[in-house]
């Protein structure tokens, strides 16, 4: 009896494991002929959702019979994608963020050229401006980036990098217009002196910065921006020679400014220990007077500040430079991003691939593009007699609510899918927030007070127009797995993470020696290999765009 039981147990364990293995093969089709696929987005955090649960997603499902389960990244994207690569199991659609090239290297993405040419005329048209640029060395297209440029339109509000300062400080000091870094810090110093605490008694934080995980731009990028460069790396306009700036004089100057700031007690000592959440909490608490960075990085906190009832705790961005006379280049020119983007993965059946590409093709139609950007005519926007898209005040208020955007599908189906950037052929802006009529309507009393004080119509009017450059952005260059350039990327980040705090928080007397110590270590890194890779990519892109 005992033996039999034992044998039976062993057999049932075996049987169960076989059964479990057999079950993992699933089918995408549901009973009513609607196909559900998975889309994993490593570029964005957010709520997981099925597209058909949104208004626009449902419309797309009715047209194409396809919907998607969207999953977002939690934690570090490289680790998550690394696991996918190691196991060889991918979702149907994948946006692999920084790891895009590694997935391509591992054969995780399938070439899209023929699929698009054969089944997706609208998609082909949408991507026409960058079709050649999207091809990798092997001639294949693996990923579809978001934001395909279709003409340039200057944004009315700052979405990218700037030196931000609390409006209350500007108002208190009679709307000064800081141009250099010294003027900027002087305003902060003055305000912090007059207001050591906020209204509810918390200590004022004069200047903070974020330095956590991949959020390194607040510390890394200013030297380039302050000297009038675009996109945080130095590229010679004539020779297209590329230089990293971490070991250059401009970086020393920038760190020196922060060192001075720290010496005056104006620099947030928690800058290097806070994580992303703590940083966002700090910004939204209204205690911070100034910081540098792209607006989107602090967006969650800034939106909270904008929605509360104190309009003076909002921030205004300035294009600060080292010295008077340097031409600022903070605004992005028309750019031709090719990575990251979404790609179809290997292991997806050919029939499914065709269905997915047809869905994307439907999405690429101009009327669909208007749906995922502006929403539904008559509900979220109106068209006036001149054919301009406008929004009423109620529509603007409605669209500002996250819940409404979620339900409509504007969060699930906007960016990260094949989407245009710039202007539609009828002259309307693709991004509603960039449409002058909408932006103007969205300005409240206090916004207007500041616009008037600085004698501008839009907040970007104090920024210099960007010079068009064909190789922007440079960060989508392909850095090969296991190459020296990749090693440099990691090693330099580590070195900078360790060294900059020492340099900035050093006693001013020890500043020079700390800097020299860092520079010596940095010069030993293979940074030339990195420069070569970027330079090759910049040159190739410049050539292609001609």
């Amino acid at each position: 009896m005992g033996k039999k039981k034992a044998a039976g147990l062993a057999a049932s364990v075996l049987a169960m494991s076989v059964f479990a293995a057999g079950c993992s093969d699933d089918s995408n089709a549901s009973e009513d002929g609607v196909y559900t696929y998975t889309f994993f987005n490593a570029s964005s955090t957010g709520t997981d959702v099925n597209t058909a649960d949104t208004t626009i997603g449902k419309m797309f499902e009715e047209e194409t019979g396809v919907n998607f389960d969207i999953e977002h990244i939690v934690g570090d994207s490289n680790q998550k994608i690394g696991t996918m690569i190691a196991s060889g199991e991918y979702p149907d659609l994948l946006n692999a963020q920084n790891a895009t090239n590694d997935v391509i290297d591992a054969g995780g993405f399938v070439p899209l050229n023929d699929l698009i040419e054969e089944h997706a005329p609208n998609l082909r048209k949408l991507y026409d401006p960058i079709w050649e640029k999207m091809k990798l060395e092997d001639g294949n297209i693996y990923i579809l980036p978001s934001g395909v440029s279709n003409g340039y339109i200057k944004p009315p509000n700052i979405g990218q990098s700037a030196f931000f300062i609390k409006r209350a400080a500007l108002k208190e000091q009679g709307y000064p217009h800081p141009k250099t870094i010294d003027e900027y810090f002087a305003i902060i110093e003055e305000y912090a002196k007059n207001n050591p605490t906020t209204e509810d008694g918390a200590e004022t934080i004069p200047y903070t910065l974020l330095q956590y995980d991949w959020h390194v731009g607040q510390l890394f990028d200013p030297p380039a921006f302050l000297s009038g460069e675009q996109e945080g790396i130095m590229i010679d306009r004539e020779t297209l020679e590329v230089n990293v700036h971490h070991n250059k004089e401009i970086t020393k100057t920038w760190l020196g400014k922060l060192n001075e700031l720290n010496d005056k007690g104006l620099f947030d000592r928690e800058s290097f220990t806070q994580n992303y959440d703590e940083y966002l909490a700090k910004i939204s608490s209204g205690r911070v007077v100034g910081w540098f960075g792209p607006r989107w990085e602090s967006g969650a906190a800034l939106d909270t500040l904008e929605l509360d009832d104190d309009p003076y705790n909002d921030f205004m961005g300035f294009p600060i430079v080292f010295e008077e006379g340097i031409k600022d280049q903070y605004l992005n020119p028309e750019s031709y991003v090719t990575s990251p983007g979404m790609g179809l993965t290997s292991g997806t059946d050919e029939e499914d691939q065709v269905r997915i590409i047809k869905f994307l093709d439907h999405m690429a139609k101009i009327e669909s593009q208007k749906l995922i950007t502006w929403g539904i005519e008559g509900e979220t926007y109106e068209v006036n007699e001149e054919g301009r898209f406008i929004r009423t005040e109620e529509q603007i208020a409605q669209i500002q609510e996250k819940e409404f955007r979620d339900e409509m599908g504007l969060t699930a189906l906007g960016w990260y899918w094949p989407i245009m950037a710039g202007v539609f052929d009828d002259g309307n802006s693709v991004d509603p927030n960039v449409q002058p009529e909408v932006a103007e309507m969205a300005y409240d009393e206090v916004d207007k007070e500041f616009l008037e004080a600085y004698d501008i119509e839009m907040f970007t009017d104090i920024f210099t127009e960007p010079e068009p450059v064909p190789y922007i952005p440079f960060w989508d260059a392909v850095i090969e797995t296991g190459s020296e350039a990749q090693l440099y990327d990691q090693q330099s980040r580590d070195l900078i993470k360790r060294s900059y705090p020492d340099i900035i928080l050093a006693d001013p007397g020890a500043f020079d020696s700390e800097w020299e110590k860092f520079k010596t270590s940095f010069d030993q890194l293979p940074y030339e290999a990195f420069e070569d890779v970027i330079e090759a990519s910049v040159k190739r892109e410049a050539e292609l765009m001609e």
């Binding site: 290297d105 797995t481 296991g482």
Partner: protein
């Protein structure tokens, strides 16, 4: 497993008392076949999860790329090991790993044994249960949550700074996580807070095994409470302590990963980065699986050396080892 150890001992001195040869062995197998059958799933488990993956060690000697078949992989010899040992960071990382481990090990043992003895001395059952429950609750928190708690307690506006200021022990607030030298201490303290209660369970069990008559006899002989702890409780736990010590020494190179990863930052990196964090940054995150494997092999070898050394040391001290 039972059968295995029997087999092992059969080849040693005990050999003389047992009959040699295949026949008696088969006979014994037959008489114990129920036991043998029961071990099969576990032997399979060990083979599948502990021995099959060893095949993956070949990756350490290749420039491994997931898309390529095994035959197409490029063999590079000891390249990844050389990279590891030549990187000056690696020595630092090794130092951090060992230091964090040793501190955690010693502190973990002392506090857990201490707490177990104290709990055992409590007479009030209700109070005893409450203390036990409270002390082992943090064990069930994930490190992600625990690390967030630790970092907010230690922040500039955190409770520790407030208390120290109120007691006039410090003049200005201290950025605890920003001072590298404090990191090992913070890590060890957080680890004790999180795990001390859980670790006492096994010691309490060991104490429960001690014959109550010994205590009564000691009482009659006039032994004080402290003397009873010293001469009865502690020696009674000795066997368990030694076994746990040997097992833990085997894990000395595994200083943990989550706490260091979550509490680490640029300012304390010189002290927080250990082998596992290094492997994540330079191995997995860079898709350099070969390097990660090489570091894994290195860790296994070190663990094995420590385990064997600790075991033979314990045997020499007359404590009887694991095997």
């Amino acid at each position: 497993m039972q059968a295995h150890s029997k087999l092992n001992s059969a080849s040693s001195e005990a050999l003389h008392q047992e009959e040699k040869g295949l026949k008696p062995f088969l006979k014994k197998c037959k008489s114990q076949r129920a036991l043998l059958l029961m071990t099969i799933p576990f032997v399979i488990w060990v083979l599948v999860f502990r021995y099959l993956p060893v095949w993956g060690w070949t990756m350490a000697f290749q420039d491994f790329k997931p898309a390529r078949a095994f035959a197409e992989q490029e063999w590079v010899g000891l390249k990844h090991f050389i990279f590891l040992f030549q990187d000056e960071r690696f020595l630092l990382v090794l130092r951090n790993t060992l230091a964090q481990s040793v501190i955690n090990l010693i502190l973990g043992f002392v506090t857990a044994i201490g707490l177990a003895v104290l709990i055992n001395e409590l007479a009030n059952m209700k109070f005893k249960r409450v203390i036990q429950t409270i002390s082992y609750l943090p064990h069930f928190l994930s490190w992600v949550v625990a690390a967030a708690l630790v970092s907010s307690v230690l922040s500039m506006d955190g409770i520790i700074n407030e208390i120290l200021l109120a007691l006039n022990l410090i003049d200005s607030k201290i950025l605890f996580l920003g001072v590298g030298e404090y990191f090992w201490g913070i890590l060890a303290a957080s680890d004790v807070w999180k795990n001390v209660g859980w670790n006492t369970i096994i010691y309490l069990a060991a104490i429960a095994m001690i014959d109550q008559e010994q205590y009564e006899a000691a009482k009659i002989d006039g032994a004080s409470r402290l003397q009873r702890i010293r001469y009865i409780t502690i020696p009674g736990m000795k066997q368990v302590i030694v076994i746990l010590l040997i097992m833990n020494i085997g894990y000395i190179i595994e200083a943990g990963f989550e706490a260091q990863y979550l509490l680490g930052n640029g300012q304390n990196m010189e002290y927080s980065e250990n082998i596992d964090v290094f492997v994540i940054n330079y191995g997995i995150s860079m898709f350099n699986f070969s390097l990660a494997t090489a570091a894994g092999i290195f860790k296994t070898v070190i663990s094995l050396i420590f385990l064997i050394a600790a075991n033979s040391f314990a045997k020499k001290m007359g404590q009887g080892g694991l095997y």
